[in-house]
Amino acid sequence: MESFQFFGISTVAYILAMVAYISYLVSKNSTVGVIATTLTVGGFIFQTIGFGIRWAEFNELMQLGIIRAAPLANLYESLEFMVWCVILGYLLIEWKYKTRAFGAFITPIAGLALAFIEMSGMSRDLSPLVPALQSNWLLAHVLLSFVGYAGFSIAFAASIIYLALTTSNNRKSGAYIFWTGALGIFSIILVALIIDFLVFRVAGVTYGQTENHILEATFQSESGFIVLLSYIGSLAFIGLLWRYGGSIIKKIADSFSISKEMLDDVTYKSIAVGFPIFGLGGLIIGAIWAEQAWGRYWSWDPKETWSLILWFVYAFYLHARFLRGWSGPKLAIVAVIGFGCMIFTYLGVNIFLSGLHAYGTL
């Protein structure tokens, strides 16, 4: 079997796990919970094997030595690796805090990345390294950057629940509206990508696997009626989320005895891991590599600039927390904004801005 088949199986397992975690949250049926964990662990094992195989395939193709053959060279591989990191982080949390309740909130982040891979029709081929990427720094730079990204993603999930929990008694507060908006947009994009998948891949209205169909079944549809319907549906969803979301999440959290202290702890610890590791891997190692390859350790390239912005947002979080005594919803909002910056740093820069980091384009 080839690597992409292992990745395919793990994708299916993670998507099913996401469904199982959400059902578990609603039903509290412990069998469902065990199934969810089993699927996640299974998917993780398959994905890990997939990476091993892909590494070997890449090494075979390039013959540049095993360290330089790390399969982290294009967007497809980096998204897969991002998912791998998030799932690993989640499994550690499930094991450490002995609760499956976070699964329903963290697996959708993996789900979103996988749905994006599926619907963008991005190339899954091995892309042999251009001279600029033929360096031992590649592995360290990408690996550590993504550990950072995974930490920030988990902090995002925990902060959203935190915000839902602490503001549920006041739907008119800014913080409540903020998290319903953020969670709403996140969920709508995820659902829209799943609808894309059902329409273009399952129902077979497809023109081949390499077509980009992002949001074409909903917001980007050819039919004006469907577009209108998508917007109305989204607004209705955010409205419902605003009206009932807080109380539902609070009820669920209470029934799983998830306290806000625990959520704050998860948020802080994820950032306390993500911030220094991203600083080291993304910024410092990135700069050292740039110095050695381009003769310029910092050139305000959009990717560099956004990485710095991202790092500053979390520096802001840490300083506000420790020196200004910020806590509660205010601080959690910073973690959610940080995640928005992270998505832009990772994907937005490559899609919307041009620059030196053009390897990760679609």
Binding site: P128, F275, I288, W294, R296, Y297, I309, F316, F352
Partner: protein, 480 residues
């Protein structure tokens, strides 16, 4: 006289007040938060607006954001405000300066307090102090104080702490600590940012960053500054002996982009190296980086072939466009009649030039003649050995030399040591600040009615739960 003194005093007060005010301004965390936000937000604009680009390109990008109608106006406004070369603008540099000043002043302001904790090693504490510690445990051990002491010392070693004994009247304290200096992590991180800034400033004033294109077979002793386009003399000569781009098999994806460079000082060759993107050449503090390549053929460009005749005799030949050579050992004359820098073969087997500006897939068109009779004609593709086979032997197309130039970035940065020092300091600073903690344990052993009472107090400035677990392990090994 008195009045003058009074005045002086008053002036002194005013100066003090101003200094205090400035100091307060720079020590405020509010300033930190504002300056982080300001740098971030302006950087967002700077990442969207193309930097130091052609106006046409910038206006094109702006059209996509504000619409075609407003794009030229938006460009004029952004250009006037400095957003089109933002990261070099005086106001952005001022933000960075304020950021650095804030960092330095805040660190100086807070440092003495932390230093007081750091310079004092752990010592026995009074019971009321022990009571304040966040982690407290108690255990009882049968036997006398000496056995208890031994047990505690062993338990300390088990969890990786070095015990220090302090006998007191009627009791003994055993104390230990770890990671006292990790409290410096934050300051080391801040210091590293300052060190990086110093490196940047040195590079700005005493370094240069420029570029140069060198045609194969030629040399240069100057490069051109990226800042103002001015010539910068190197003090030695650099020659490009050869440039070669290699591609991944079956694709036009670059695999290697190599320049054979030689340094010449006073007419003597002193150093040679094959430079590629991740393999720069350093000489006398100046570094040459592979950056780009270009195709500029001329009358002087030389075709290089390795020719093997059917009878086995071999020869290397070098000739210009339109010139001829003889197949070794025969009477057959071969002429280079045409050339293509990138010859492709379409599905019908037809040849076409697909990238006239780059030497991606060079091909030479050869005519074979004997006594002026045209025998046959053939395209020879450098990257396809199958095409080298001709009726009268093999003609390997080695290279078209003096047709490509290498694009080098050239830098002199006397502050580079600060960059590496800053990177190193930031790495250990972040590590100490986030992954280490100052952990302290005090154990008081005293006799209590035939058994020994062991009082454990401990504290950690970070990650208390993990340390608490360790302390529980210590208690367990005492009781066991």
């Amino acid at each position: 006289m008195n009045e003058k003194k009074e005045n002086q005093k008053e002036n002194q007060n005013v100066v003090d007040k101003i200094v205090d005010k400035v100091w307060d301004f720079f020590t405020s965390i509010k300033l930190t938060i504002i300056i982080l936000a300001v740098i971030s937000l302006t950087s967002v604009v700077g990442s969207v607006v193309p930097q130091r680009a052609e106006p046409e390109r910038t206006i094109g990008v702006l059209s996509g954001i504000v619409g075609e109608a407003f794009a030229p106006t938006a460009f004029i406004v952004l250009d006037a405000l400095g957003f089109t070369a933002m990261f070099q603008s005086w106001w952005f540099l001022t933000f960075l300066f304020i950021f650095a000043a804030n960092l330095i002043v805040c660190s100086i302001d807070r440092f003495p307090k932390i230093w007081n904790i750091i310079k004092e090693p752990i010592k026995p504490a009074e019971p009321d102090v022990l009571n304040l510690m966040s982690i407290k445990r108690e255990a009882f051990i049968k036997g006398d104080i000496d056995t208890a002491k031994g047990k505690v010392e062993l338990a300390f070693k088990k969890i990786g702490f070095k015990p220090q004994l302090h006998p007191e009247s009627g009791s003994t304290q055993i104390v230990s600590e770890k990671g006292r200096y990790s409290r410096l992590g934050v300051y080391v991180t801040h210091l590293s940012i300052i060190v990086l800034f110093i490196g940047v400033i040195i590079a700005m004033f005493w370094g240069f960053h420029g570029g140069v294109n060198i045609l194969e077979g030629t040399s240069t002793s100057v490069v051109y500054s990226f800042r103002d386009g001015k010539e910068i003399p190197l003090g030695f000569e650099v020659r490009c002996d050869n440039y070669d781009a290699r591609f991944w098999e079956g694709t036009d994806r670059l695999k290697a982009s190599e320049s054979w460079l030689t340094i010449i000082e006073d007419g003597k060759e002193v150093k040679s190296k094959i430079v590629d993107v991740n393999r720069p050449l350093r000489h006398r503090g100046i570094t040459f980086y592979q950056s780009s390549r270009g195709f500029a053929p001329s009358q002087d460009s030389l075709f290089r072939f390795a020719v093997t005749s059917v009878n086995g005799s071999k020869e290397n030949v070098e000739l210009k466009f339109g010139e001829s050579f003889k197949m070794p050992g025969t009477n057959i004359k071969v002429t280079v009649a045409d050339f293509s820098p990138a010859l492709g073969i379409d599905q019908l087997g037809r040849l076409f030039t697909y990238n006239p500006d780059e030497m991606v897939n060079p091909a030479a068109f050869l005519e074979f003649r004997e006594n002026d009779n045209l025998l046959h004609r053939q395209w020879i593709l450098r990257r396809y050995p199958d095409t080298w086979r001709v009726q009268h032997g093999i003609v390997e197309f080695k290279d078209l030399w003096k047709a490509q130039y290498t694009g080098l970035q050239v830098r002199r940065d006397p502050g580079i040591g600060f960059f590496y020092l800053g990177s190193f300091l930031m790495t250990i600073g972040l590590h100490a600040a986030f992954f280490m903690s100052h952990r302290r344990i005090w154990v008081k052993i005293s006799n209590e009615k035939g058994r020994v009472n062991v009082l454990v107090a401990a504290s950690s400035n970070k990650n208390r739960e993990a340390f608490e677990k360790k302390i529980d392990k210590l208690i367990k090994s005492l009781e066991g």
